[in-house]
Symmetry: C2
């Protein structure tokens, strides 16, 4: 018989969130621990295990026996291998010399918890969550784009998240709509979508526009240029700040051009936008949709939806990872 609960875990650079979830997507209990000061893998696993055991007890679901498995979303998580590979933002995933190493997370957590574990990256987890609990409920073909510090993606075809030959499929933030003259990406490439359409990329666009014409008025000029965040730009744009609106228009244009190429690949029913920038509403959706439509083949014009995620913000990551665990 299928067990009635699963655990969803979201591993981030700063902290780890975990929750006990039922089949309808209700999070019974959840918790967070700060991982910034944990600098060894064993230290991390010990804290995680202790946290999960306490969490299961506090959920009062009859203990581990009623938990079907654990889904983990993590940076560079690999679905096939159950590993985290080359994740520069996780201090505990580095060796003593500070180099990234392969963390056999599935194996380690299964051993520690005695429950089956599935690992994927955060964007794939979000896509899985969107399909089971969110805006893509009932859809078989869609693309989830996560607009956060970076740009991630989870691609769903025929009702299944695409992992590809090696488990790393869906790195659409590192497709390059702008080459040569584009921005340097952390990944080493030039002009990746992520360097423009992420929160960091958008703030950088704002700084560039402020610099290009120092006489141009903008609400953003009251801030120190280096401190400007995407949130500041969104707030200024909401107040009608012309320069800030232009930042969103530029970002949306690049995003929409890229989306047209994604549609040519997998012909999705919808592209779902998840994360901070997606909350800017029309400011980002309107220019994105316009640029996508301008660049679509005629067979797709007016037919592909671009919609906001319906996963509840603070709980989305847990729900996404939990959604994976139902496959176990």
């Amino acid at each position: 018989m299928r067990k009635p609960y699963v655990i969803g875990i979201d591993i981030g650079g700063q902290s780890t969130k975990a929750g006990v979830v039922d089949a309808r997507g209700n999070i019974l209990v959840q918790t967070t621990f700060d991982s910034r000061d944990i600098d060894t893998l064993q230290g991390y696993l010990d804290t995680l295990t202790e946290t999960l055991n306490k969490l299961i007890n506090s959920a009062q679901v009859g203990g581990k026996d009623n938990v079907g498995g654990i889904g983990i979303g993590a940076p560079n998580g690999n679905y096939y291998k159950g590993t985290i590979e080359d994740a520069p933002n996780l201090k505990w995933a580095k060796d003593a010399a500070g180099n990234t190493r392969v963390v056999y997370l599935k194996e380690d957590v299964e051993k520690a918890m005695g429950l089956p574990v599935v690992v994927t990256n955060d964007a794939n987890a979000a896509a899985q969550g969107e399909m089971i609990y969110g805006a893509a409920k009932g859809m078989k073909n869609f693309i989830e784009i996560t607009l956060g510090t970076g740009v991630g993606s989870g691609i769903v075809i025929d009702g299944k998240v695409v992992y590809g030959h090696d488990g790393f499929a869906g790195e659409l933030g590192h497709t390059t709509s702008i080459r040569r003259t584009g921005r340097q990406c952390n990944c080493g490439k030039i002009g990746c979508l992520e360097t423009y359409a992420s929160a960091i990329g958008l703030a950088r666009t704002a700084r560039e526009l402020l610099e290009i014409d120092p006489q141009r008025p903008s609400l953003l000029r009251s801030l120190t240029a280096d401190d400007i965040t995407s949130k500041d730009v969104a707030e200024a744009a909401a107040k009608g700040d012309e320069l800030s609106v232009e930042v969103f228009a530029f970002t949306g244009r690049l995003l929409g051009e890229a989306f047209a190429d994604f549609v040519a690949f997998s012909a999705p029913e919808a592209i779902v936008l998840f994360g901070g920038l997606a909350q800017a509403g029309d400011l980002i959706f309107e220019p994105t949709i316009r640029a996508m439509e301008d660049n679509l083949l005629s067979i797709w014009k007016g037919k592909v939806k671009v919609i906001p995620s319906q996963l509840p913000g603070s709980e989305a990551a847990i729900l996404g990872s939990a959604a994976l665990a139902w496959e176990l």
Copy 2:
């Protein structure tokens, strides 16, 4: 019990090819008819039916009862709907006023032949054939790129050709690695991959290079510029003509840059090149692979094969369509 034979049909602008194929990919008999002078749908269907009935008789396989079904690869063929939509090069698929119309090919051929029919586009058929009989045998994740008059693609994920939400997935020839300053495509967009990496695009690049520097020597100067074909360029390049080698290098670079984005989408084990240009060997493979590698995320560097099709040229289209029919 599964029937021992299928029919594969390849519909092109000039002619239609059909063959009776066994499960090992042997074409028992095949035939071709010229369709250039057929200007009504009924006329086309009558000729096709007559041709197929003769073909089945000549194959001496015990008649229709031993044929499991018919697979058809056609321009703009739609797998879900069984239609051909908006195919400007098929005279018989237009109405009296010369406008393209929707042809309900599956329905019409099923009625005429009394056999189940499956329709897809030619690139998807090639991908299916490659997986069953060709270079992708045993692979679950690969991308077939057809380099012909246009650039087509068939994407295989988890052992299945991707059709997407509407049956039109895999139009990678119309992704746009070069925008704004790019070439005008027949589809109406600017800078589509097809305008550079097709046979026509490659010949155009040659003409452009000849024009830019009228003093530059080239074997191609013995030809009338407007008559230069991709085959001429390949022959000149094979003889060491520097300008022609540069044409292939340029074409390969754009192709390889595009491939890096395709890899970021579906993380394939291989990209298989099919069609005329693919036969240019190192001339096209070497610059393509170099550009792809330069643009891949580090997790994929050195890991994705770019290989030539192993479907026998003249029979590939029939085998590809036949491969589809085994699903019936």
